[in-house]
Amino acid sequence: MRNVSSVLGKLAKTMSISLMLLFAVTMAHAQDIKEGQTLFKSKCTTCHAVSKKVVGPALAGMSERHPEEWLVSWIHNSQAMIAAGDETAVRLFEENNKLVMTSFTDLSEDQIKNIIAYVKDEEAKAAAGPAEGTAGGAGAAESEGANTLMILGLVAVVVLAIAIIVVLNRVIRSLEKIIATNQAAIEAAEAANTGYQESRFSKFAKAFVKNKKLVGFTVLLFVVLLSFAGWNTLWNVGVHQGYEPVQPIKFSHQIHAGANQIDCQYCHGGAFKSKNASIPSANVCMNCHNTVTASDHYDGEISPEIAKIYNAVDFDPETRTYGDNTSPIEWVRVHNLPDFAYFNHSQHVVVAGVECQTCHGPVETMEEIYQYSPLTMKWCVECHKATEVDSDNAYYDQLIQAHEKLKKGEKMTAAMIGGLECGKCHY
């Protein structure tokens, strides 16, 4: 037995050691890949993918194609290598239509190695492709299974429901039988009951009708309530606050303006120059979506929403060429001012310095854009009454000198300099 135990003890020892070792190794390895992944996502994905060509070539197999030292130096500064006449570098540059790869001199050697490790790891996962493929297949089967399960479940529910109905029917039938047998007794009881109740109700009703003040009060209450409801309804005719139509592209301001912090002006530059804030033309989208395909969320495929932009500008992501068969994106207009009201974005954004969010709400959190403000005249007027004029603007110098209020040190609002006059907005 001792032998057995010592053997077991030894075994346990070696096992624990080897486990520990294994753990340590995997730990170290995981660390590298994880950092590599972060770096890869932030620095490389704009132009590269592991297993497919984006702007730059697919990275799979790069460690086999090139020694690690070479790769490090390439990623550091490829142009320097080309300039130095490195044969492989020059060949690679030529092969890729002389596309210049960004230099990453800020990355340390270790960081680059981590990236390479990450790529290798991804590559390995991809190499396990067939296996993963089967896994994926299994997954697919699983999800199909889930579907059948759901259908089976539904069938079960239906069957159960039918069973319940049948049972309940039986109960009803037996109850009816009981009623039939005890008809007379029940009727008698009911008659007694209704007589009592009727007298109670009619008493109350009669008393109510007799009390004219109460009647009057009730009528008044109704009238007040109705007119209140009517008034509110009428005031809101044509007010489309909260209007959130379905757009042809599921564009999310939350991702663009919120998560990615793209300035409003990048897309809606008109707001700073013109009366129209202007919806960006598709070529503005293409500035980024030329490379940003969100394929990491769609199993390596281009996002179907981004594909709509490609469709609009007739861009072929495979060949990276533009065709002539363009078609504009027909967005649904959310903010509709009536034709008789003139509104100029640049007056408000540039001159008055109003934040976009003041009128458009927390756009950076909106998954789908909706009308935040009521856009009624009352709403405009309230703001004009409260908003102070930017007295630093040289345009207002003369007005400021002339304005009595200011001489007294009071503030000057838009309303005071004619901001409420009809012709300022209606012409």
């Binding site: 033309s281 070529n283 649904v332 540039v350 345009y395 004619g418 012709g423 012409y427």
Partner: protein, 1003 residues
């Protein structure tokens, strides 16, 4: 001092006809059926309760249902790839040119919406004529062809090219002529294209002919000065101008440029320096130029030559026989000659006749006056009219002889404007292949074998050279809307060239125009023009055999002398009929008669009385074997025994707006001495039936109030304040209202009555800028024209015994012959009164005052009581009786999606039932202020310009901020001549007028 002169707008007002008196009492021209309803069955019948409830229920239900449509879903469709230069909502300006004038085309999101003068240009740099402002509407004309046609059927360009080239080759191989018949082509590139066409087809020739021809002047200059050109005139150098039947401020040559120069000697700046030119006009019909003259003498067309002979005699002291016998004319000539002689070197005589002999005599006079050089410039000559009537006759003869194989027609319409259309039909029947480049199937194009529609100038690359040394560029502002191709491109294609027209124009400029100027193509695209000429020409001396010429003139005069003489003239809107489908121009009132949508026979009231015809009657006019019936206009100022008829009307195939409007008067013209002439002997007889013209003349009467002020130059020199009669100088005023404070800006206007010629360009510019609808003839008849700005024309009678000034003498007016009238033009628009009467009566506060001195009109607030119009002393408010933009009754004007692209997107289109009026182009004021705010600076004088101001080549309208003491308008309003219309009612108008000054002989 109040003037005791009596002004009147129409004969009805002068004679106080019962109909006029009755109408003038009413607020609206049409009776409003309120009283009928009240008096008739109306309220006295009992409406059964059930019927009432039924009607109420139905009404309520209908209204609810009508209101229950879903809010429409608006699409916002951005560009796919936005052109870099476009910011939606911000206009772009492109330098281009129209009729040889360098202009700026304003586009919004790629569509042209207005045309204004290029302020940096030489020549006409301020203001455009009415046709230029209106030209933008022609781009959006639905009556244009959308495809090339062969035999009236749409074809592809490739098919048309094949057919044309086959026809050309056939003609060329048969040795037959290929003729390109066009109006004047002064575009260097088109001429180059024609040259390259000619080199491919050596039998090709180019015939130029103008519907209203000036070939007499060209011929006369060729004979007497050795230069076969039309000179440029610099009226700013002329202290004395004598015009014999030349409407030189209107349609004669380049009227707008003449106006700009002419007014320089008559506007407030000139008056301040104590200078004013004198203008004497001899003419038969009262033209716009005649209405501005200091002295105007009515003569018959046959006397034009005699007047010039007398003038020649008086100036040179010779005694050529055949002088004028008319007493009034004789007196005027003696005085005019004295003036001309004293101002030798600064005086000029112009004659409107197209007869070579009359022009020769005019040259002799001008030569004697030393006008050649500074005033008449033969070196930087005009290239606007180079047509030769003789060449076209030659073309017809060749065609008749079967020598012409192919004929192309470019911008010319002989089936409409030739004297005898039958001759053209007969001649063209012998031409194997005929083609028109017309943009529509007009009178000529529709009978030819094929049409190769040319693109509008707003869709084309091109150029023009309206003056020697002056080149302007035409650049497209929009892609061709229809499947059209510009004519010069077609010619290049048929000549076998594959050059794109853009490359062709560019290369032509680089080789021929830009060489040596140190400028490159891109400079021209920005500046719009190149001028290589000089400011004035060198001196010339005319070599004329005066006796022979006078004899020839007398022969001609005899040929046209008669009981009744006919004078044809080019109207300022439609011109020779080119613009007949332009609704803006059709609705532009004639500067003098104020008739819209028709031509008419203008007769002197006294003469009409003799003929037994009155207002609304029709007459039959016969001359040269052609007769038409026309409605009569009793035109004060018209010479007795004459009838004037406008050309350009009576088109049959021009489009929805212009078809069958008026009668064609071209067949009245005749050929004499090798040129087309517009005078002839005629008979006028009363015709049956009546016809009501759509006249804006007396629509807005002013009840004889003292609203036009006029003085003479002599009086002005003594006292600049003379006759301006400012009420405030002599009266103390009391206000019911508090003073209206305008701490920031105060927008005001100054209008110089002495500069305004009444041309009406401002009206069209205003309509284009402010989306003022065209209402059509019927609505104008009902006095519902929508123009925000009108030009009131007032007559005063003048007799040989002195002006008929006193009220009592007006009663005697019947005894006068109505030949001697003087005219004042007064632009009238919303006066933006500080104490506006319209504001106080509006029950819903739809019209209110702004702190910038403007009278605002909130359309969406107005519900159409029309109290404001009733209470407006100036009658400038307009009521929308219809949804003119969306009503099938106005289909022929602007009611279709395509034509509506001309609308200015910054201005609301008003709906039925609301009032509107001049807003002082508030959209421009707001835009100007915003620009200043964005640039963090003060608003400068001149940053904001009104549409009417921009269109005025006379600079009669000055707009600005009166709170800025250095602004042009402040300076103008400090002028002594300034008065305010109806100042005495103390509505405190913000538009100051400057007294009209007339430089008369009597003074």
């Amino acid at each position: 001092m109040d003037s005791n002169k009596k002004y009147w707008k129409g004969l009805e007002e002068l004679q106080q006809t019962p109909a006029f008196v009755e109408k003038s009492k009413q607020e609206f021209a049409e009776p409003i059926p309120v009283e009928d309803v009240l008096n008739e069955a109306g309220l006295s019948t009992k409406t059964p309760r059930r019927d009432f409830l039924k009607a109420l229920g139905f009404g309520l239900g209908a209204v609810t249902l009508a209101a229950c449509n879903r809010t429409p879903i608006h699409k916002a469709v951005p560009y796919v790839i936005k052109p870099e230069e476009i910011t939606p909502g911000v206009p772009n300006f492109y330098a281009s040119s129209f009729n040889g004038q360098s202009v700026l085309v304003r586009t919004r999101e790629g569509r042209p919406i207005s045309i204004t003068a290029n302020p940096n240009s030489v020549g006409l740099s301020q203001g455009t004529d009415a046709t230029t402002s209106a030209a933008v509407l022609d781009l959006y004309d639905m009556s244009k062809l959308q495809n090339p046609q062969i035999g009236g059927k749409d074809v592809e360009w490739a098919d048309l090219d094949k057919t044309v080239i086959a026809a050309l080759n056939k003609a060329a191989s048969a040795g037959k002529q290929i003729s390109i018949v066009s109006n004047t082509v002064n575009s260097p590139s088109t001429l180059a294209a024609i040259e390259s066409f000619k080199s491919k087809y050596p039998t090709a020739n180019h015939v130029q002919v103008d519907a209203v021809s000036y070939s007499g002047i060209i011929e006369a200059n060729k004979l007497s000065l050795g230069k076969a050109v039309i000179p440029s005139y610099h009226f700013d150098q002329a202290n004395v101008v004598v015009s014999v039947a030349a409407d030189f401020l209107g349609t004669w040559l380049s009227g707008e440029e003449h106006t700009q120069d002419y007014v320089k000697n008559r506007d407030s700046k000139s008056l301040k320096s104590g200078k004013m030119s004198r203008h004497i006009q001899f003419e038969s019909g009262l033209s716009m130029t005649g209405s501005n003259a200091d002295v105007r003498i009515a003569i018959k067309p046959s006397e034009e030559g005699a007047v010039l002979i007398s003038l020649f005699n008086a100036i040179t002291g010779q005694s050529v026989s055949g002088g004028v016998t008319n007493k009034k004319a004789q007196t005027a000539i003696t005085l005019a000659a004295k003036e001309l002689i004293t101002n030798r070197g600064n005086a000029v005589v112009v004659a409107g006749s197209n007869d070579v002999n009359i022009q020769l005599l005019t040259n002799a006079i001008n030569s004697a006056l030393g006008a050649y050089g500074s005033i008449i410039d033969l070196d930087n000559f005009s290239k606007q009219y180079q047509g030769s009537d003789a060449d076209f006759q030659q073309f017809l003869a060749s065609a008749n002889a079967g020598q012409i194989g192919v004929a192309f027609f470019l911008n010319t319409n002989p089936f409409y404007d030739y004297i005898k259309a039958d001759d053209v039909t007969a001649a063209l029947a012998k031409v194997e292949f005929t083609l028109s480049f017309s943009d529509r199937a007009d009178e000529t194009a529709s009978v030819l074998k094929a049409i190769a529609p040319t693109s509008s100038f707003l869709e084309s690359w091109g150029d023009s050279s309206s003056k020697e040394g002056y080149y302007t560029i035409v650049q497209p502002t929009i892609n061709p809307v229809f499947n059209t191709r510009q004519a010069d491109q077609s010619l290049l294609v048929w000549a076998g060239s594959t050059t794109n027209i853009y490359e062709f124009v560019k290369e032509n400029w680089e080789a021929n125009v830009l060489a040596g100027t140190g400028k490159v193509w891109n400079d021209v695209l920005q500046s719009g023009f190149i001028y290589k000429g000089t400011d004035s020409g060198s001196s010339y001396s005319a070599n004329v055999d005066v006796n022979a010429v006078s004899a020839a003139i007398l022969t001609l005069s005899k040929a046209i002398a008669g009981e009744v003489e006919l004078k044809l003239y080019e109207p300022s809107g439609l011109r020779d009929g080119r613009y007949a489908n332009n609704a803006f121009l059709q609705e532009l009132p004639d500067p003098v008669s104020k008739v819209t949508w028709d031509n008419y026979a203008a007769l002197n009231p006294r003469f009409a009385e003799e003929l037994g015809v009155g207002e609304n009657d029709k007459v039959k006019v016969e001359a040269n074997g052609y007769a038409i019936e026309l409605p009569v206009v009793l035109q004060p100022g018209q010479a007795l025994g004459t009838v004037s008829i406008a050309l350009g009307y009576g088109r049959t195939k021009v489009g929805k707006a212009g078809n069958e409007v008026g009668q064609n008067a071209f067949p009245f013209a005749r050929f004499a001495n090798g040129s087309k002439q517009l005078e002839s002997k005629a008979t006028v007889t009363k015709a049956s039936g009546t016809y009501q013209l759509a006249q804006t003349q007396t629509h807005h009467t002013i009840e004889g109030r003292n609203i036009v002020r006029e003085t003479t130059f002599a009086k002005y020199l003594k006292d600049p304040n003379s006759e301006s009669g400012r009420f405030a100088d002599t009266h103390k005023t009391y206000d019911l209202w508090n003073k209206f404070e305008s701490p920031g800006h105060k927008w005001v206007m100054a209008i110089d009555l002495n500069a305004c010629t009444g041309c009406g360009s401002c009206i069209v510019a205003c309509s284009v800028e402010n989306n003022v609808p065209v209402v059509g003839r019927d609505e104008v008849r009902r006095r519902r024209e929508m123009h925000w700005l009108r030009i009131d024309r007032y007559y005063t009678l003048e007799t040989s015994e002195g002006k008929l000034t006193k009220e009592k003498e007006i009663a005697k007016a019947d005894a006068y012959d109505y030949e001697d009238v003087t005219v004042v033009h007064q632009p009238m628009l919303c006066q933006h009164c500080d104490h506006a009467p319209c504001e106080t009566v509006c029950p819903v506060l739809a019209t209110v005052h702004s702190s910038e001195g403007l009278n605002h009109m909130a359309y969406n607030r107005c519900f159409g009581t029309r109290y404001c119009a009733n209470n407006c002393p100036y009658k400038v408010r307009r009521f929308n009786w219809f949804n003119y933009w969306n009503d099938s009754r106005f289909d022929n004007y602007l009611n279709n999606e395509f034509t509506q692209l001309v609308l200015n997107p910054d201005v609301t289109t008003r709906s039925r039932g609301v009032m509107e009026k001049c807003s002082m182009c508030i959209q421009r004021i707001q835009a100007g202020k915003l620009q200043a705010k964005v640039e963090n600076r003060k608003l400068k004088d001149g940053d904001v310009q009104m549409a009417c101001q921009q269109a005025c080549s006379a600079n009669a309208i000055i707009f600005g901020d009166v709170n800025d003491p250095d602004s042009e308008v402040s300076k103008a309003l400090r002028n002594e001549r300034v008065y305010y219309v109806l100042e005495e009612i103390n509505v405190q108008p913000n538009i100051g007028y400057m007294t009209k000054v007339r430089n008369t002989f009597e003074a």
